[in-house]
Symmetry: C2
Subunit: 336 residues, 2 copies
DNA sequence: TTGTACGCGTTATCAC
DNA sequence: GTGATAACGCGTACAA
C-alpha cells in the first residue's frame, strides 16, 4: 500500500517527531537518556514511517559489517551442507549474516575471496579450497579467520575433526577381520583425507604390509561408483577403505552391479556417517564426524576472534567415533 | 608482513600519489579523463598501499549492496542445496554476493528476513518458508523479490517447476500398471507438493477412484522410513507416491525391512531425481526437476528486476520430466 | 535532556 | 586534466 519505495531515513523520523537525529538514535538504541514523552513521539514516527536503520549507515558508523563469510567447494553431498547449516545457525544467533562463496574450482577464486573479505568481519574457509598464499594474505590483512578441516595455519584458528586415531582404529579393525589386500578409494587432498591415508598406511606398515596407493576419484556417489567398477574388475581387494561415505555408497553400488556381495566378497568402509550410511544396505561401517558441530564451533571461534574475546589463534580437534556396521564384515572382532 | 590492520583509504592513496581523491577514483574506475602519468602514479600508490575500495563506502555512494539474499528452510537433502548452488553460481557471475538465511522453522524468521532485506539489492525466497504477510511487506517495500516453487505472488517474480502435468502423467502411469490402491507419502505444504497431490487426486477421480488423503511426514529419508513402516504395516497399498525422492528412498528401506519387494509387493515413486534416485535399488521412478537450473533462473530473474531490465513481475514454470525406472513396476505400459 | 556537527569511505557533480 | 565538495545514512562526542 504505502509503497514509499525509498525507505525512510533517520532524518525524516527526526523531522516527523520534531527532534534531532541524535535523539532518534538514542531513543532507538537506548544509548543515552531520553524523556519518556520524547521517546514515545519518536517511536510513533518510526512506526508511521516504517523506519529501519540502513545497514550501510550503521556499518559505516560502527565499523562492523555484522556479517561473516564462509568459503566451501560445493554443496554436493551432506558434508558441506551440514557444516554450513551448523555454521549459519550459530552465526545467526550471534546476530551475524552469512555470506557464502562456493569455489567449485573456479579460477577467479582469489579475487572472489578478496572481495568477500571486504564485506565481512571475519571468515571461515574450508581447507584446500583457497590457495595458501591467498589465505596468508587474508591473515596478513588482520581479518579474523577460521580454517576448517586443515592442518595448522599461522595466524588463523583451525577447527578440525580427529582423523589419525580413528583411521588407525579403522585399519586395525579391518586387519582384525583378516583382510590383507586393502585398497584406498579417493586421492590425496592434502587435508583430512591425506591424514586418514597416512594413518591407515602406517598401521598396515606396522603389520608388515605395503601401504597401498590411494586411487583418486571424485568425492561423490558417482565417483565412487566409477572407481568401484574399476577396482573390482582387476585383482580384487579384500577391503576398500573409502575417503567418505558417498564414495563408499558408490563402491557398494558397483559391487552389486558386478554381482559381488558386500561384505562377503569385499568389505567397504566410509567416513562421515551421513544419514544414508545407516540406511544403506549393507549398513555402512564408517567414522562419525560431528558435521554440524564443526560448523557451530567454527562460528563460535570466529566470534571470539571478532569480538576480541580471544586474540591468539587456537586449534581445536573434535573427536570422531568409529561406527561398526555390516559393510566391513560379518564377524566384528574388536581388538585393543 | 606489512600488517597494516586497518586497510588504506582513498585519501591515503591520494596523498601518496600527490593527487585528489577524485582523481584516484577516476583512475581506478575509468570514469573520466586521467593523464597517463597521473594514472601511473595513482596505480603505484594503490599497489604500495594494497588499497581496495571499502565495500561500505562504495555501497553507500552507489546505493547498491552488490549482494542478494536467499531464504530456504534447511539444507538436508540435495534439493535446496542444488538450487542454492545454481543460484550462487549465477549470482556470483553477475558480481553479486549471496547472503543465506536458513529458517529451520525458527520463530524469529520475520525479523531475520527484514534484517536481510536491509542488506541486499534483492532476494529470493523459497515458497512456504516465510509468512505471507512478511512476503507482502517485502514486496511493498519495493525490494526486488523472486519466489521459488510457489504459486503466484502479486508484485514478485516466481520461478517454479511444473507439477500438475507431470503428476498427472505419473498417476496415469501407475494406473496403467493396474494399481488402484494408491497412497500419498508426505503432507500438504501449500506449494509444490500440494499441486502434485491435487493433480494426482484429480486423475484418480477421473478413473472413479477416491483420491487418497496424503500422510504427513518429514521430507527426509528418515521421515519416509518411519511413514513407510506405518503405511506398509496396515492394509497394504499397491503403490506409494512420495512427495520427493528422499521420502521414497526411506519407504523403500522400510519395505525391505518388512520383507516386502519393491516393486513386486508395492510400487514406490519419488520426485526430484536426485542423484541417489538413479543409484537406488530398485532404481527410482521419479520426476526430474532441474534443480540447479531453478536456482540459476531465480538469480537471473532477480538480476533483471534489480537492474531494471524488466519492471513487471513474471512467472516462469520450467518443465519437468517423468523418469520411469524400476521402482514403479516391471511392465511399464505408457499410455496416451 | 536535547541538538549540533563531525566522521565513516566512497562516487559524482561541478568549477577551474 | 584535475580538485573541491556535496551527497549517501548513521553513531556519537561535545556543547548547550
Amino acid at each position: 500500500m504505502a509503497n514509499s519505495d525509498e525507505s525512510a531515513t533517520i532524518y525524516q523520523v527526526a523531522q516527523r517527531a520534531g527532534v534531532s537525529i541524535a535523539t532518534v538514535s538514542r531513543a532507538l538504541r537506548g544509548t543515552g537518556p531520553v524523556a519518556a514523552k520524547t521517546r514515545e513521539r519518536v517511536l510513533r514516527a518510526v512506526e508511521e514511517l516504517r523506519f529501519t536503520p540502513s545497514r550501510l549507515g550503521v556499518s559505516l558508523a560502527s565499523g562492523r559489517h555484522a556479517a561473516n563469510g564462509i568459503v566451501f567447494p560445493d554443496l554436493s553431498g551432506p558434508y558441506f551442507a551440514e557444516v554450513l547449516l551448523g555454521y549459519e545457525e550459530v552465526a545467526s544467533e550471534l546476530g551475524r549474516s552469512v555470506i557464502i562463496l562456493s569455489t567449485r574450482g573456479r579460477a577467479a577464486v582469489p579475487d572472489l575471496v578478496r572481495d568477500l573479505s571486504r564485506r565481512v568481519d571475519g571468515m571461515v574457509i574450508f581447507g584446500q579450497t583457497v590457495r595458501d598464499d591467498v589465505v596468508a594474505e587474508i591473515v596478513d590483512s588482520g581479518l579474523p579467520l577460521v580454517m576448517i578441516a586443515r592442518d595448522d595455519v599461522a595466524g588463523a584458528d583451525v577447527v578440525a575433526s580427529e582423523n589419525t586415531v580413528s583411521a588407525a582404529r579403522l585399519a586395525s579393525h579391518l586387519l582384525g577381520h583378516g583382510y590383507r589386500r586393502i585398497a584406498l578409494a579417493g586421492g590425496h587432498d592434502n587435508g583430512d583425507i591425506t591424514q586418514r591415508w597416512t594413518s591407515v598406511g602406517q598401521v598396515l606398515s606396522e603389520h608388515g604390509l605395503t601401504p597401498p596407493e590411494p586411487s583418486p576419484c571424485e568425492f561423490t556417489v558417482e565417483g565412487g561408483h566409477a572407481l568401484g567398477r574399476y577396482l573390482l574388475s582387476g585383482p580384487r581387494p579384500e577391503a576398500i577403505v573409502c575417503a567418505d561415505d558417498q564414495v563408499a555408497l558408490g563402491v557398494i553400488l558397483a559391487a552389486e552391479e558386478l554381482g559381488l556381495s558386500v561384505p562377503g566378497d569385499v568389505a567397504v568402509t566410509g567416513w562421515d556417517d551421513i544419514m544414508a550410511a545407516r540406511h544403506a544396505r549393507p549398513a555402512l561401517t564408517t567414522v562419525r564426524q560431528p558435521m554440524r558441530d564443526l560448523g557451530a564451533r567454527a562460528a563460535r571461534a570466529l566470534d571470539e576472534l571478532i569480538t576480541g574475546a580471544r586474540d591468539t589463534p587456537r586449534s581445536q580437534v573434535t573427536p570422531t567415533e568409529l561406527v561398526i556396521r555390516a559393510s566391513c564384515g560379518t564377524h566384528p572382532l574388536e581388538e585393543a
